[in-house]
């Protein structure tokens, strides 16, 4: 199935709940709200016509300093039917909470930890919700656009980056 067929199929099963994104990007993804995610995730994985058994990638996105939302993109792939799909969930920066799909796709375990590590998005229901790449006591979430680079870490001074070639 191609993108449009998948969207139609999902809509048929979810009472036209989701409408394709019509933003400025000619996007080929489905933008949904966090509360629907878990149900949809099970559907995506278990439905016989979709069988998205492989989670290719989970990407955290910060839409910019002015934008009030953080986004998470889920790239799915079906090893059985050889089709792909992307789901995107936006959450407000004030309360970034998304249900975890770590039990549905096991790899989401580490991917979600990475997104949390870099963007501070909390994944509810994750059984091992810790930072993964950064130290446990790291402050801030580095991939956010408003991240301020620390000058010291545990008393170690971070050398300043030279702006131009010298």
């Amino acid at each position: 199935m191609d993108y449009q067929e998948i969207v139609d199929y999902i809509n048929r099963n979810f009472n036209e709940l989701y409408s394709p994104d019509t933003g400025e990007e000619q996007a080929e993804f489905l933008r949904i709200s966090p509360k629907d995610w878990k149900e949809l995730a099970y559907f995506l994985r278990d439905d016989g016509n979709l069988v998205f058994d492989s989670m290719m990638c989970i990407t955290g996105i910060d839409y910019g300093v002015e934008d009030e939302n953080l986004g998470v993109a889920y790239n799915l792939h079906s090893m059985t039917h050889h089709h792909k799909f992307e789901v995107r969930i936006d959450v407000p920066k004030s309360k970034p909470m998304i249900p975890s799909v770590e039990k549905i796709w096991r790899i989401a375990d580490w991917f979600e930890r990475e997104v949390y590590d870099m963007y501070g998005i909390t994944f509810e229901g994750h059984r091992d919700h810790r930072r993964i790449l950064l130290p446990e006591d790291w402050e801030g979430f580095p991939l956010r656009k408003d991240y301020i680079f620390p000058e010291t870490w545990h008393g170690i001074v971070v050398p300043k980056i030279k702006e131009e070639w010298e």
């Binding site: 400025e24 990007e25 000619q26 996007a27 058994d53 492989s54 989670m55 290719m56 990638c57 990407t59 955290g60 996105i61 910060d62 993109a73 790239n75 090893m79 050889h82 792909k84 992307e86 796709w105 096991r106 790899i107 375990d109 580490w110 870099m118 993964i132 790449l133 950064l134 130290p135 580095p142 991939l143 991240y147």
Partner: protein, 382 residues
């Protein structure tokens, strides 16, 4: 009163569990990785991997440099197979920008990528042998890998981090006589595969140590997003070069080797290892075909954009590196710097299943399983 009344309270004689840190400084973690291992005697009951010791926030770097400048950073992710990483980035960018590169560039890319795949698999095979205690195969592999690095040095001056495949082309055309040199190498290399088989693959001790150990069933592998030779070792016939052909891989005739369980259960360490050995043969096959067909004329710089400024939009593209599916999720906002660049690393997903498959084995097996997954920490930590 029979003998049945004699019971033993086993909980009273069970010893305490011991927590052992394998790494960050350990000879067999293939980088700076820490595995916190809970052991009961020699049996490992739980493994918690701690990664990030090499973390340099590659993705943040990328947001601060232009698209061209990302390529050297990509090199440094999977430093064992830089060509393949360059390739993956170039494919993603070309998809985002809609660039069509010339036939010759495609062939050059395939040749260098397959050569680098051979080099990377040689390293994986050698270090895996080292992990189970065989020292000599390691040096045999390095002897042959050296020749590939010499070829790359001739090609672009670098031996490890090439910065060779650019968006829209490659940095240099093949130097004079390079094609012949690659032919020469392939003729030299092909018989050597048999040497590895004789020395390591079919060694009884090696089979005892690796077959049936760390079995990764196909469904678990897919759920964990394991890809590349590790997935194929579990018996899943999945190779992006064949199933989602990018570049010109659809022009070549080659097989996808999968784990068959010839020496034990499908998906054991031996299967993962043997898939790599067989892939060496396939890569040689592909390279030979590419060398036969490569057009002699053509400009490798023709499609290079003057300035890389992709249109607004996003792309998720993946290619097959020696370690598996390398994905790039790139969001462009129309500026010369990436708005967001995410690298989906195959080694990252491979390592995440270590607790699942290595639990219940002995310490020596954990080392073997880790070696069979062929991880590169530069890519995991990014």
């Amino acid at each position: 009163m029979g003998i049945e009344t004699l019971t033993l309270d086993r909980s009273a004689i069970q010893g305490e569990e011991m927590v052992l840190n394998i790494g960050p400084q350990h000879p067999s973690t293939h980088g700076v990785l820490r595995l916190q291992v809970v052991t009961d005697g020699e049996i490992v009951t739980k493994i918690t991997p701690y990664i990030g010791y090499l973390h340099r926030c590659f993705e943040k770097h990328c947001e601060n440099v232009t698209y061209e400048q990302v390529i050297p950073f990509v090199d440094r992710c999977d430093y064992i197979a830089s060509m393949n990483n360059n390739f993956g980035y170039a494919v993603a960018m070309e998809e985002l920008m809609g660039i069509e590169v010339s036939e010759k560039v495609h062939y050059i890319r395939v040749i260098v990528a397959e050569l680098n795949r051979i080099a990377s698999h040689l390293l994986a095979i050698g270090t895996f042998g080292l992990d189970v205690g065989a020292f000599t195969p390691f040096l045999y592999c390095f002897r042959d890998r050296e020749r590939i690095l010499d070829l790359f040095e001739l090609l672009c001056g670098a031996r490890l981090l090439y910065n060779y495949i650019w968006v829209g082309g490659v940095s240099h055309d093949f130097p004079i006589g390079f094609v012949e040199k690659v032919y020469e190498f392939l003729d030299y290399f092909e018989p050597k595969i048999q040497e590895y088989n004789d020395l390591l693959t079919f060694n009884k001790i090696f089979i005892e140590r690796t077959a049936d150990v760390g079995v990764l069933p196909a469904d678990v592998a897919i759920s964990y997003g394991v890809s590349g030779p590790n997935l194929r070792g579990s018996g899943v016939k999945w190779d992006l070069r064949k199933n989602e052909p990018y570049s010109i891989y659809n022009k070549f005739d080659f097989d996808i080797p999968i784990g068959t369980g010839a020496m034990g259960t499908v998906g054991g360490c031996w299967d993962r290892y043997y898939v790599r050995i067989r892939e060496l043969e396939e890569s040689v096959k592909i390279t030979r075909q590419a060398l036969d067909q490569i057009p002699r004329e053509g400009d490798v710089h023709a499609a290079l954009p003057k300035k890389i400024r992709p249109p607004k939009g996003h792309v998720y593209s993946r290619t097959e590196t020696p370690r598996g599916d390398l994905g790039f999720y790139i969001i462009s906002d129309g500026k010369p710097k990436p708005f967001r660049l995410k690298l989906r690393s195959p080694a990252f997903t491979a390592l995440s299943c270590i607790n699942e498959i290595a639990r219940g084995w002995m310490i020596a097996d954990v080392i073997a399983i880790l070696g069979s997954l062929d991880i590169v920490l530069g890519e995991i930590d990014r």
